[in-house]
């Protein structure tokens, strides 16, 4: 297991200009990792995520992104993502190129990436204007029935980052609850990092079908308790719906947004507590 501080993991695996996917469908969104990328001031990233959510609203507003590949850019149940809108509508702080899909297309594109295929084929986009707005959406005829089907290029991020409940001492990573597209996003990527709530000696009693990413599918693991906040970690803490509602006001105004980011991200210490990590690293070295 390559157990790193979050700071070191981001420094080593996330580079300017990379295609980066920080996945987690509402649940287990890797906010702490995004905040570390913001603190390290990565530039010209292509951000990939089905639902940009607050996590990419923050990164877009802080100027980390040049391009966004996505399928639904709202604050769930609340309204707009104001920083995303400001970038698309007024190029603030930077112009943002967008590559827009439907959810079905994104899910299929991750699946194709994980399966090492060049593209995904599915029955989609019928009658929609989206193919006229995104030239990567194309059509293919079934070689058996001649049915016209949609296809999109496989997603192959340079690096995928996920947050999960726990890792064991060997560096296998367990996630449960709403599992989203994380397995596909990790297996589609060239490099993958998981932040976890905790490291346990062994996973113990569990369903034989629990989603576990074997240690050899991940390039680094960082222990970051609370690393999904204000999203949630099933079994650890709940989604901070009040914060999602409150973000509407924080993010609506450029100055208020920047002040919030300064206080809560740029000036805050990177999690996790170093002493926890040190003890774990020492234990891990014994193997």
């Amino acid at each position: 297991m390559n157990l790193l501080t979050l700071k070191d993991a981001v420094a080593e695996f996330v580079h300017d200009g990379d295609q980066v996917a920080l996945e987690g469908f509402t649940h287990l969104i890797p906010f702490a990792a995004a905040h570390e990328i913001i603190r390290q001031k990565r530039r010209d990233l292509t951000l990939i995520r089905m639902t940009p959510d607050l996590i990419y609203d923050q990164m877009i507003g802080m100027g980390n992104a040049r391009k966004l590949i996505f399928s639904w850019g709202g604050n769930p149940g609340v309204g707009s993502l104001h920083r995303f809108r400001d970038a698309v509508e007024k190029s603030w702080p930077l112009a943002l190129e967008i590559v827009e899909h439907s959810h079905a297309a994104m899910a299929n594109a991750y699946d194709a990436g994980a399966a090492n295929l060049p593209f995904a084929v599915f029955r989609g986009y019928r009658g929609s204007d989206l193919p006229s707005a995104n030239s990567t959406i194309r059509w293919i005829h079934c070689p058996y029935t001649n049915e016209k089907l949609a296809c999109v290029p496989a997603l192959r991020p340079d690096v995928t980052i996920i947050h999960a409940q726990k890792a064991d001492r060997e560096g296998n990573v367990l996630l449960e609850g709403i599992i989203g597209v994380q397995k596909e996003a990790v297996l589609a990527a060239r490099k993958a990092i998981a932040t976890v709530e905790e490291i346990v000696d062994e996973f113990g009693p569990r369903s034989t079908n629990t989603v576990i990413l074997p240690s050899w599918t991940l390039d680094a693991i960082s222990v970051v308790p609370g690393g999904a906040t204000p999203s949630y970690a099933h079994g650890y803490y709940r989604r901070d719906n009040a914060f999602y509602i409150g973000w509407d006001n924080i993010s609506r105004n450029r100055e208020r947004f920047l002040a919030w980011m300064q206080e809560n991200v740029l000036d805050s210490q990177p999690a996790p507590a170093s002493e926890i990590l040190e003890s774990l690293t020492t234990a891990g070295d014994g193997e």
């Binding site: 469908f25 309204g79 509508e89 986009y125 009658g127 707005a133 596909e184 099933h234 719906n241």
Partner: protein
């Protein structure tokens, strides 16, 4: 005997009534979610609710703020991955009805959730399609629930994110799509259904106290009324109390009690 109620409650109740026990329903967040759970808690206890976060057969006790709140997973029969929900279940043809909203709708039930103004230089950048584009073509049929206003009920959509019956009412058929498309549009003023021949949405029932002029005033095209126009049955005291209890339990969890 009818209790007093507001237009949003009438809309939610009218939408809920369209769902039945045998439905497998793909639920959108917000008003659709309230209507689907009201159906489950009243006349359709056997309905299977599916949210795109992968929760199958979920029975939330409180309305979720997001499509993936923990409540949906904790009360689900099982939770599967997002690729699986779209590939095996939606594209697999296992969903009988989808429930959608949008920023704009036209007379053929096509929806815009992408941009107001041009795509490249939008006046307002909206969230985008999410799951809707394929929900509209892969579910057996779908229902739309939206507040009635001339800004959102428009003659021409700025962007067609999600196919209804097509720009002129024939495109869906011409594309060879076998599913039925938008079969009902419920608003805070009325219920609309597609004309069997033209597929144009026409008003089939007016909510109590609403006049045809009210509906026309809030609609951006010359609206048609069914020859068998009825008055919507008002909410029963039971429907109202279940809906209000649901909102009361959800207080603090959802952004606004849509009223």
């Amino acid at each position: 005997m009818s209790a007093t109620y507001n237009p949003t409650e009438m809309m939610t109740v009218a939408a809920a009534r369209a769902l039945g026990n045998s439905d497998v329903c793909f639920v959108g967040i917000g008003l659709p979610s309230a209507a689907c759970n009201l159906a489950r808690l009243t006349h359709a206890p056997q309905i299977h609710l599916i949210y795109e976060s992968g929760t199958l057969g979920t029975r939330p006790n409180v309305l979720p703020l997001s499509i993936g709140d923990g409540e949906l997973c904790e009360t689900a029969l099982t939770t599967i991955s997002v690729p699986e929900i779209f590939r095996y279940w939606l594209q697999g043809g296992r969903i009988t009805v989808g429930f959608l909203g949008g920023a704009q709708v036209d007379r053929f039930g096509n929806l815009n959730s992408t941009t107001i103004g041009s795509y490249d230089h939008p006046k307002v950048r909206l969230p985008g399609s999410g799951g809707a584009t394929e929900i509209a073509t892969e579910c057996g049929r779908f229902f739309i629930v939206m507040r009635h206003s001339s800004r959102s009920f428009v003659e021409h959509l700025d962007f067609l994110s999600t196919l209804g019956h097509g720009r002129t009412g024939v495109e869906r058929r011409e594309l060879g799509i076998k599913t039925m498309g938008p079969q009902m549009l419920v608003t805070d003023l009325c219920v609309m259904r597609p004309n069997p021949e033209t597929c144009e949405m026409e008003v089939t029932s007016l909510h109590p106290g609403v006049t045809p002029e009210d509906v026309q005033k809030h609609t951006g095209w010359p609206i048609r009324f069914s020859s068998s126009l009825k008055e919507t049955e008002p909410p029963t005291p039971h429907e109202l109390s279940v809906l209000r209890d649901l909102y009361a339990r959800s207080e603090g969890n959802i952004a606004t009690v849509d009223a």
